[in-house]
Symmetry: C2
Subunit: 330 residues, 2 copies
C-alpha cells in the first residue's frame, strides 16, 4: 500500500485537520463527536442541511460545506457510516430554528443511523434519501439502489433553495424531485485500497472493467473486457436513459465524475463521448461538471450522472456557492 499517511489509525483525523486548516475561511472542524460545519454560525431562519457518510469519497461531503450548499457534514471512518451522536451534534450546532434536513445516501448503515438521529430530534427533522445509481437493485451494503455521484447535485440544488428560505417540507420535496430526475452509473478500471485493510478490496484482471461498480468497490452488473471510451459512454448513458426515460428535447445536466485516480484528461474525453450519446438520444446538455467529486479512495474509474432539468433545478444549480470543492457566482 503506497499512501501519504502516517499510521492507519490517524488517517481520518489528520486528513480532516489538514482539510479544515486549508479551508479555514469556509469550514470549521469540531471533534468529540466529529463533524465539519460552515463558518459564521447557524443561519437564523434557514433550514439547516446536514449530510454525511463514510469517508473515502472526498470531496463528498465535507468539501460541499459552505454557503449555498451544506451547513454541516459528518464523516464516518473510511467506508463506514457516521454515528447518530455525530449527526445530532452537527444538527444542534447549525440549527437556525427552521428545521434540519438530512441528506442521506441509501446505504443500510447510513439510513439506520440518520433515522435514529432524526427520531431523537423529532418534528423539526426531515430526510431526503438519495438512490441515483441505476446499476443494481440491492447490493453488498444496500437495500434498494445506492446513492452515488448524484448526491452532490441534490446537495447543491437543495442547498441553494435553503438559502432562498424554502421551508423544510418544500426542501424535502425538492430534494426528492432532484433524486427522481437523476440517474448515475459507473465503471471501475481498478480496485481501491482501504488504509486499514492495506490491500485492494477486489481483484480485477489487467484487461477487465467492472460495469456498474459501487463507490465502495461493490460489484456492479457484470465484468467485461476493457472497452473503448465511446463504448463505455454508450453503455452508461443508455442504462441511465432507460431508467429516466426522458422526452426528446429534454434539457439535462451531465456530470462526469472521477473515482479518484483517473486523470482529468480521460474524464474530459469521456465527457465528450457521453455528451455525444446524450445528444444522439435527443437530450440537450445545458449544464456540465467534470472532475473528482464523489470518489472511492484511489480507484481508477468514472461515472456518468444525468439530471433532467427544469427551470427550478437549473436556477438553483446556477445560484452562488462557496464551498471548498464547488464554487461559483460569489
Amino acid at each position: 500500500m503506497k499512501k501519504f499517511i502516517n499510521s492507519v489509525d490517524d488517517v481520518l483525523s489528520e486528513s480532516l485537520h489538514g482539510f479544515a486548516s486549508a479551508y479555514a475561511p469556509i469550514v470549521r472542524l469540531r471533534e468529540d463527536p466529529t463533524f465539519l460545519l460552515r463558518t459564521g454560525g447557524p443561519v437564523s431562519g434557514k433550514v439547516a442541511l446536514v449530510s454525511g457518510g463514510g469517508s473515502g469519497h472526498e470531496p463528498l461531503h465535507g468539501g460541499f460545506v459552505g454557503k449555498g450548499m451544506l451547513d454541516a457534514a459528518c464523516p464516518g471512518q473510511v467506508f463506514t457510516s457516521p454515528t447518530p451522536d455525530q449527526m445530532i451534534a452537527a444538527a444542534e450546532a447549525v440549527d437556525g430554528g427552521a428545521g434540519i434536513l438530512f441528506i442521506v445516501k441509501n446505504y443500510t448503515g447510513d439510513v439506520m443511523n440518520f433515522d435514529m438521529a432524526s427520531e431523537m430530534i423529532g418534528d423539526g427533522a426531515a430526510t431526503v434519501l438519495v438512490d441515483d445509481d441505476v446499476a443494481v437493485e440491492d447490493s453488498s451494503f444496500t437495500s434498494g439502489r445506492r446513492g452515488v455521484a448524484g448526491t452532490l447535485i441534490v446537495e447543491k440544488v437543495v442547498g441553494a433553495a435553503a438559502e432562498d428560505r424554502l421551508d423544510l417540507a418544500s426542501l424535502k420535496a425538492l430534494g426528492e424531485k432532484v433524486n427522481d430526475k437523476t440517474g448515475s452509473m459507473g465503471v471501475a478500471l481498478t480496485s481501491c485500497t482501504v488504509p486499514a485493510a492495506g490491500k485492494p478490496m477486489f481483484d480485477l484482471g489487467e484487461d477487465e472493467m467492472e460495469v456498474g461498480v459501487g463507490i465502495h468497490g461493490e460489484p456492479g452488473r457484470h465484468r467485461e473486457k476493457l472497452a473503448p471510451a465511446d463504448s463505455i459512454a454508450k453503455l452508461l448513458v443508455e442504462a441511465i436513459l432507460e431508467d429516466l426515460k426522458p422526452q426528446k428535447g429534454q434539457k439535462a445536466l451531465l456530470l462526469i465524475n472521477g473515482m479518484g485516480a483517473t486523470p482529468l484528461m480521460e474524464l474530459t474525453l469521456l465527457y465528450g463521448a457521453a455528451r455525444k450519446e446524450c445528444e444522439a438520444a435527443g437530450l440537450e446538455i445545458e449544464r456540465s461538471l467534470v472532475g473528482n467529486y464523489v470518489t472511492s479512495l484511489d480507484m481508477a474509474g468514472a461515472s456518468v450522472t444525468l439530471t433532467l432539468l427544469d427551470d427550478e433545478i437549473t436556477g438553483y444549480w446556477d445560484a452562488p456557492v462557496i464551498t471548498p470543492a464547488l464554487r461559483w457566482g460569489a
Copy 2:
C-alpha cells in the same frame, strides 16, 4: 494500460473537444493549429497572457484560461512542447493591442519554441520563464531548474495584474518576482503511463518513492523507502526553505498539488503535515490550495509549493478568477 480512451492517436484531440464543450461558457477550442482561448474575444488594452506546454498535466494550462488568468493556452502532444505556429496563432487571436506575455515552464523544447514565436512577433512580446522546482539543476528535459506547480501561481497573480491593466514590462517583472519567491518539490509513489507508450515511464519498487521527481517522471534527487507523510512533508518543506531562505514571520501561500492519482484525503493529510513544518520554521501560512492542478497523467504522488507573499502578490491572488479549474470572487 487501462485508460478511458478510444485510440492513442485521438486522445489529445478528443480530450480537448470534451473539455471545450464542458466549459463552453468560459473557453473555446481552435484547431489547425490547436489552442484554447477565453470566450469574449481579445480584451482591448489588456496585455494578453499566453501559456502552453506538453499535455498530460491537466488542468494546466487549459484549465486556467479565463477571466483573471490566461487568455490562451497551447497544448502540445502528451509531454511534448507545442509548436511555434500554435503560439503565434494563439497570440494573434487574443491580442488586445497592449502586448503578449508568454508564460513558459523551463523545459528545453518549450523554451526553444516559445523563443521562436516571440522572435517572430517582435517588440510586442515578452516572456516569463518559470523554474520553481528546487529538486535538481538540469535534468532529462531541462537546462537549469524545471517549471512545475508554481506555474499556476505565476499565471494567477500575473493574470489578475493584467486585468488591472499593468503594462507588459510591469507584468514581466511581476511574473519574475513571483517565480523568484516560489519553490516546489515533489515525490512520486508510482510512475505514469503515456498513452502512446502504453507502459509505465519508469519502474519504482513496491516500497520505494522517487524524491524530487519531475512532472514528466524525470528522476529527482534520489530514491528511498516510502516514508510516513510527516517525514515526506519535512523533507520537501526543508528543501524549499533552503532555497527560498525566508525570514521568520514571513507570510506564505502553501499549495499541495496532486500528481493525478492521489486521492484528496491523502493530499489534505499532507497539507496538514506540510503546514506544521512551515509553521515550525516560522512561516505564517496565509493562503492555501489543495488539489490536482499540475499533474503527471496517472502518477500517484504530490508536490509542495511555497510562495512568499507580499501585499501585491496576495492582492492579485485574491482577485476574482473564472476559469474551469480555479474560480473564486465572481
